[in-house]
Every structure is written in C-alpha cells, then in structure tokens.
C-alpha cells in the first residue's frame, strides 16, 4: 500500500499565494516578539509566525500575566495585560526582513495596529510589505489597554470601523489581509461579515477573552498585581478552546462571513489542531502552549497529525479540512427519536460511585445502589445509604481474633463488591452522558444506542407535523 509509506503532506495554501510548509503558526504574541525568536521557532518546525503586533511602540507594566491552575494542572487558563510591541518600528521591520531572507519558505505574517487614520494604515502596510511580509493580520481584537486608546477591540467591536479600516488596508495591500476577530462581542459574525465586506482575504479567530483570572485572598488584589491594582486582561489557553471552536464554526457556517480562517484558542497539541481543521480552519495559531512549554511542542504536533492522517488515509490537509462542519446544526434539526442509555461495565467498575451521586444530584435519579439490597417501593436516597454505612461497626481485621467472614458470597463475581457497583434503571435513563463523563475509568460506562422503532424526526419536523394534523382537524 503506497499510502502507508508516503508521509502525508502538511503543506497548505491559506489564501491564493499564501503558502506554508505546515498549518502550525505562532500567534502574534510574546513568542514572536523578535527575529531571533521567530528563527528559532522556524528551526523547531513551526510553519509560520504572526509577528507580535507592530505599531507605535508602547510602555508595558510589570507584572503582565496571570494564570488559572486547575486541580494540580498549571495554566489551564492564561491571562495577559501586555500591549503591542515595545520595540521601535525600524527594529521590527529590519528583523522581519532578515527572517524572510533566511527563511524564504516559511510564512511571516505581520500583525498591525495603528491609530484609525487612513494614512497611518497605508504607511504601515507599505512598510511591512516592503520588509517582506507574506501577509498582514489586522489586530482588531486586543481587549486591554489598546482598546482604551481607540484601537484593538475598540475597532473590532464596531462593524463599521472594521469594514472601513479593512478597506483602507486593502487599498494598499499586495499580500493577503487577515482580520483578527475579538470574541468579546455578542455575535462574532457581525464583525466577520464587516471584514468580508471590507475585502479581507481571511480571518483569525479568536483573540483573547476579557478576564479577571482571580483575586489574592490575602492581599485582596486581583491578578496580575501591578503595584496593588489590576486591570482586566485577555484570557486564553486550554480553557478557551471550546469557546473558540464554537466561534470558528459560527463564522465558517455563515456564507456572509466565511473566509479562510486561521484558528486560534487553546490549541496545545495536534489533537486540538485537528479539531480546528475539521471545523474548516486553514491554519492554526498557538501561543499559550508555547509560552508554557516552548517551541519544541511543534515536533509532536507535526508528527502526531501526520500519524493520525496516515491512520485515517488522508494524504493532504484538504482531505479532512472542514469534515466536521456539516455535523454542527441548529438544535431544531437534531433527531428527537435517537436514544442512548448508560451501560455500566461491571468488570471495570472500581466502586467510587461518582456516577451514582452525579445522577442523583445532577441528573435524573436513575442510577441506584441496590444490587445487594433491592429496595421495594421507591429508592433509598444517598443520605439513607450513607447513614446505613455509618451505623455499621467496622473493626481492624486481626486474623487470630476474627471469625472467617461470611460476606464473601455477597462480593459477587467482579473485582468490586456487588454492593458498590451501581445499577442503571434503563427505563428511566435519559441518555444525558453525565455518568459516563464523571466516571474515572475509561470505557467503564458506555452509552449504548437503543431503538425506539421510530423514524428520525427533528423538533422542527415534529412541530410541522403537529401543526399539519391540527390543520386537518
């Protein structure tokens, strides 16, 4: 089989003329602050880099970052109040030019943010392209600091401004122009449509979300602490991926918005990347994971994605790009006659009974602990079960003092005593997934399809059918 021996190609063409050796780009952020960094990133394997936003240099504060840790995992979410580049424009342009000379095949996109004047935008576009930029990304998304000065998300939250500035840029630009979208808006499509009307060639989504990551319970100062005060920042990292996926889907499913999209938001590995590509993204951008672990993570992103493609029989990214997009529909089109119920694989159950407590308190009270002591009418409540356990007298087992236990018969055939293996009431189970989500053991609770012997019918169809039958009467 030739497929097995050929390495799948990761090369992409984002927009006409904008090609890249792979879809893994560094997002405009501290990892793309200078030429030395970008060149080391390219050496590590990154296919492209969006240069840290250039414009009129700013002054930053200290500190600048804060993070949300979750259950022992560092940096589940990440927050920053850093502004655009603090380096002189000439330095950035010189280094961009140097990088492009040394790495002609890699993609360098320059992120731009200047005051909302046509001449200012025309000038920075010309300077960037003269330096060798392969494309431009308009930073209409930065949610902190710059927005207070009428830039960043102050532009990206107003469709008219977005359209206007995009069209100014397009008046001059010779390279593809991407508009970076802010998620801090009710409907991201309104801005995506404006960008498209303005002539954008692509979109980058999403920028960071407005956030306060937490408050120090000793000093009462929110993080990050800047001399006893804080300010809202931009939130990113693994925590925001689901939000980003949804917004990418919204944009790509909307014909008036749809453009090539560079997906951004919590992408940390090839699996995350594959998901964005499956929703139709043409490339992905990474920042937080690199700030956490360094440029080296791209090695497994490339290797893992290629192995997955080989396993699935995909030879090029186009082979699977967008495959999952048609699978997202409006709720009203979901099949009401599709039914699954929880199935507990007794031999895998470890007896933590988290599914039991989750179903009782968080779902529909249809998992029971009654394999040994079947309840008559009505089921024992969690409180009754715990109270019965507390009443039992337990002693330290001392062989020479103890009589052989008679309870072996009640242990049952599984590693876990029968008493602790929950039972699903299949008639009551609504198939919500909750038990399978909280179960710590892989494939211990599976959701099994059951036939209702009914043809597929969505809510929309059901309403139509019901109104038809009403009319007939």
């Amino acid at each position: 089989m030739p497929e097995e021996n050929t390495t799948p190609s990761l090369a992409i063409e984002f927009a006409p003329g904008l090609v890249s050796p792979n879809p893994f780009w560094l997002a405009s952020a501290p990892p793309t602050n200078c030429g030395e960094q970008v060149m080391r990133a390219f050496d590590a394997g990154w296919g492209g880099a969006v240069w840290k936003t250039i414009g009129e240099p700013i002054t930053n504060v200290s500190s600048r970052y804060s993070a949300v840790d979750w259950n022992g995992q560092r940096v589940m979410g990440f927050n920053n109040i850093e502004l655009i580049t603090d380096r002189p424009l000439e330095t950035n342009l010189r280094e961009i030019s140097e990088v492009k000379k040394r790495y002609p095949k890699h993609t360098v996109i320059v992120s731009l943010m200047v005051e909302s004047k046509r001449e200012a935008w025309h000038q920075i576009v010309r300077q960037s392209e003269d330096a060798g930029a392969d494309g431009l990304e308009l930073n209409f998304g930065c949610p902190h600091g710059m927005s207070e000065r009428g830039m960043g998300s102050a532009v990206g939250q107003v469709p008219e401004y977005t359209e206007m500035i995009t069209s100014w840029v397009k008046e001059k630009a010779r390279t593809p122009v991407l508009v970076k979208l802010t998620p801090n808006i009710t409907d991201i499509r309104t801005i995506a449509r404006a960008a498209k009307r303005g002539g954008a060639d692509g979109l980058s989504a999403i920028n960071t979300l407005n956030s306060i990551t937490g408050i120090d319970l000793d000093t009462f100062v929110p993080r990050p602490n800047v001399g006893g005060r804080s300010s809202h920042g931009g939130y990113c990292g693994p925590a925001v991926k689901p939000i980003a996926l949804n917004m990418v889907q919204q944009v790509l499913s909307d014909p008036a918005s749809a453009l090539p999209v560079s997906g951004i938001g919590g992408i940390s590995d090839w699996r995350d990347a594959a998901e964005f590509l499956l929703l139709g993204c043409s490339s992905v951008q990474v920042c937080t994971a690199v700030m956490h672990y360094g440029y080296r993570i791209v090695e497994d992103m490339i290797d893992g994605l290629q192995n997955w493609m080989r396993e699935k029989g995909f030879r090029r990214v186009q082979d699977f790009r967008g495959r999952s997009l048609p699978r997202v529909v409006e709720w009203k089109h979901l099949n009401l006659n599709y039914k699954i119920i929880a199935h507990i694989h007794e031999e895998k159950c470890i007896g933590c009974d988290l599914c039991y407590t989750a179903c009782w308190d968080g779902a529909h009270q249809c998992i029971h602990l009654d394999r040994i002591a079947p309840s008559g009418n009505g089921h024992a409540t969690p409180a009754e079960i715990e109270a019965a356990s507390r009443r039992r007298i337990a002693v330290t087992p001392i062989p020479k003092l103890d009589h052989p236990q008679a309870s072996a018969a009640e242990h049952g055939p599984y590693p876990t005593p029968l008493e602790r293996i929950p039972r699903v009431d299949e008639d009551e189970c609504v198939g919500c997934n909750l038990c399978s989500l909280v179960c710590p053991v892989e494939n211990c609770i599976t959701m099994e399809e059951v036939s209702l012997n009914l043809p597929p019918e969505s809510w929309e169809e059901r309403v139509a059918r019901q109104s038809r039958s009403t009319e007939c009467r």
Binding site: I350, V395, T396, P397, I398, T416, V441
Partner: protein, 447 residues
C-alpha cells in the same frame, strides 16, 4: 498539663534513633496527593475506618487549603485523629479499601494526609468548641486513661457532661503513650493530644488504682455512669526456667522504658519471642538501640504470624532475623549467674491447620544478652471478676457493640478489654459509641 508533675523529657539518643516511619508531607506534596482523591460517594475508606472518619471530606478540605476545617472534620469522628494518623495499620483499613487499587493506582496516602491536617491543627494552637455549651450535672467516670476512655470522655465533655478519668499510672494515654513504637508515635505527641481533651474540661485523676470493691462502691455513689477502658493485663510469661534472670524484659516493659527515657540501649544480641505486632515493634526498637543481632523466635511459619505483613517487611528490611518453628525451653545464665548467656530452643512441627508439636531434633542454643518475651497480654481477669454483675466472655467484657453497654446497667466498656486487643482506632470507636450511648441514657433519665 495533663501530665501532672511527671513530664516526659525526650531523650536525644532515642529521638535520633527513632525518626518518623512515615515522615510528614511537604505542603505542596500534600496538596497534590489530596487532589488525587476521587471523592467517592459513601467512601469505602470511611466505611473501613472503625471511627468512620469522613475521609473524602477531610481530603477535599486539604485540597482547598482549608486545613483547620479538615482537622475538625477528622476530630468530629475521632478525637485521637493525630495519633491514629500515625499508628493506624492503614494498609488493612482506609488505604486498603481505597478504590484506586482497582484503578491500577497506588491508594491515596490517607494516613499521611490526615497527619498533615492534624499537625496543622496542633501547630496553630489546638482548640475545639463543645457541641453543648451548657454544663450538665451528671458525672461519668472513665476507668483507665487509654484511647477508649479518652474517646468516651471527650464525647461526653463535648456534650456538656462532667467526666473524670482515672488511671493508676502517672501519665495518661495508656498504650498510646507507653506502648506504641516511637517511630510511629512519640509519647510527647500522645500527651499533646490528650491535653486537648483536658482543655475540654475532662478531669484526670492519676495514680488512682480502682481495684477494690469498695473503690467501685465509692465510684458508683459519685458517678452516674462508669466506663471501663481498662485494656488488658500483664504480658504472658514464657513459663520456662531462667525467666527471672536480669536481662529478661517483656516487650511492653521494654518499649515503655525507652519511650519514657529510662532506657537507651538493648542487648548486643537480643532474642524476641513471639511474632505479633508488639514483637516486631520491640525487635525493631532493639535494633535502633544498638543491638547488633536481633532474632525473632516463633513457633510457626511466616504465613501464620499474627503481625501484619507490612510490619514483617519492615522488620526484615531493618535486619531482624526470623527463627521459625522454634520454641524457647530455657534461658541460660552465664557461669557467674549474673546475666543471660543463651536461650535454649526446641524445634517444633506445624501440621497444616493443627497445633504445634515437638520434633525429635536436638535442642539448640542461641547466644544472647537479652530476651524479650512478646507473646501477648493476658486479660485482667482478676480485676474484672471483682465487678459484680458484669458478664465476661472468654476473658473479655461482654457488651452490646453499638452502645458499649455491659450487662450491668450503669457500666459501659470498650477497647482492648472488650475486643481482646486491637488497634487504637478500634478503642476510639468503642469509646465514642459508649460516650454517645451514655449521653443518651443520661439525657433520657434526667430529662
């Protein structure tokens, strides 16, 4: 201080030789370990604990940094939560029941996490609020100041009853203070914990042996209920020639001597007779006190030994030698008759499921300077038989397990004198149940 005029001064030689068997967690390590806990419903660890400490509840509190709340959750179930965290055989209790083992993972280190919370509690100024602030007039006597009585006394004080704890010894705590290996629980830590119970208002009367019918009559007049937490009697004697030679010290005596500062060495070659947990404690202690060779002589084989298997492993790791299927028949003195020279042993057979019997093999000698008999404690029969109306069962006080109620209406009992000799945590559970039952009885009678 509960210790009255006698306090324990830690001997630096002993302290250095007996570092913690399970060292405390660093804060970050405790946090990470606490986060591993699955937070089981109706958790097996809780059910396996004789005092039913709500383990997931206290561990969750460690994970949120609520260490005081964690300690109070432990104390709510077990007033000796600090010593239990160190001395409990967790492998056969909470940790042995942890579902993680069926998940292919190490059990949560519940004992060390419990210690982490309790250490914080005592380090930051232990204080406990009573459940009932009103003082009640009824009085309860607790005989013996070991774990069972302490738990009973604490439960009653928390509910506002007046309690007096009697002990013939100068220090409280019973085996918790005098009999637990120092690498598990230091005597000073046992006493610190009892100070908390005293701070609740329990009265301690030391050097007061209650061992005559008239003493009990006086108690019955003064107190509304009496709890017997008297433990077991003296250790069994070997019953062989030479047992009275200097250099023969029973295991509990040996442990007490080094724990209370009176002993800092063991025989160069020490023989321990018996293979229960106390024998192991004594053998390991002898090693730490400088014995070059420590030999445990046991009449059966490893699978039959009463010590927990992890105790056996600890002893082997520490270099203790095991002499199986052997029984001492005499202890020989040196020519001057001033010290031990050897132990004469017979070889025995152990038929499957049967009792041991002698073999025709010739006796052999083990050269040694010290012999530590550790073949169990006898029941306090002589004492118990003086108590009229209390039914005994094979040398143990017969009680209703749920209440600790004896056959005599105002007498309750718990701990080793009821269960034949188990763990601290079993005694605490007995004492607490009895305390609750006594409170209930008195509340009904005097309502």
């Amino acid at each position: 201080m509960v210790t009255g005029d006698k306090a324990i001064v830690e001997n630096p030689v002993v302290a250095a030789a007996f570092p913690d068997q399970h060292p405390p967690f660093e804060p970050q390590a405790a946090l990470i370990e606490s986060q591993r806990c699955l937070f089981c419903f109706d958790a097996p660890c809780t059910n396996a604990c004789p005092t039913h400490i709500d383990v997931p509840r206290f561990i969750k509190k460690i994970s949120t940094g609520n260490l005081r709340g964690s300690a109070l959750a432990i104390l709510d179930a077990n007033i000796l939560g600090a010593s239990c965290s160190r001395v409990c055989p967790v492998d056969v209790l909470c940790e042995g029941a942890c579902v993680m083992q069926r998940h292919g993972k190490e059990p949560i280190e519940i004992g060390r996490l419990q210690r982490h919370a309790m250490d914080y509690f005592y380090r930051t100024g232990a204080s406990l609020r009573r459940k009932e602030t009103a003082e009640r007039s009824e009085k309860v006597a607790c005989i013996g100041a070991g774990p069972a009585s302490l738990a009973c006394a604490a439960e009653l004080r928390l509910r506002g009853f007046r309690v007096a704890v009697f002990d013939a010894r100068p220090l409280p705590g019973g085996l918790n203070t005098y009999g637990v290996a120092e690498y598990k629980l230091r005597a000073v830590d046992s006493l610190r914990e009892i100070e908390l119970i005293r701070s609740l208002g329990a009265e301690f009367r030391f050097g007061t042996a209650i061992d005559t019918p008239s003493a009990f009559e006086r108690l019955e007049k003064e107190f509304d209920a009496i709890f017997l937490g008297i433990g077991l009697g003296p250790m069994h004697k070997l019953g062989i020639p030479g047992e009275d030679l200097p250099g023969v010290v029973n295991a509990l005596q040996f442990i007490e001597e080094y724990k209370t500062g009176g002993r800092t060495s063991a025989g160069r070659r020490t023989v321990v007779v018996g293979a229960g947990n106390t024998a192991i404690d004594a053998a390991r202690a002898a090693k730490r006190l400088g014995a070059e060779e420590v030999r445990i002589v046991y009449r059966r084989d490893a699978p039959q030994m009463p010590a927990f298997s992890f105790e056996f492993e600890h002893a082997r790791e520490e270099g203790v030698i095991f002499q199986w299927r052997s029984r001492p028949v005499a202890i020989r003195a040196n020519s001057a008759g001033t010290a031990i020279a050897s132990v004469e042993c017979a070889t025995v057979e152990v038929p499957v499921g049967g009792t041991t019997k002698p073999t025709p093999s010739p006796h052999f000698e083990i050269a040694c300077d010290m012999v530590i008999p550790a073949i169990g404690q006898s029941p306090l029969l002589e004492f118990l038989e003086k108590l009229r109306g209390i039914t005994l069962d094979r040398g143990r006080v017969r009680v209703d397990r749920a209440t600790g109620r004896t056959s005599s209406p105002r007498y309750f009992a718990g701990g080793d004198c009821v269960n034949g000799g188990r763990e601290v945590v079993d005694a605490v559970a007995d004492g607490k149940r009895a305390g609750e039952a006594i409170a209930e009885m008195l509340e009904v009678t005097h309502a």
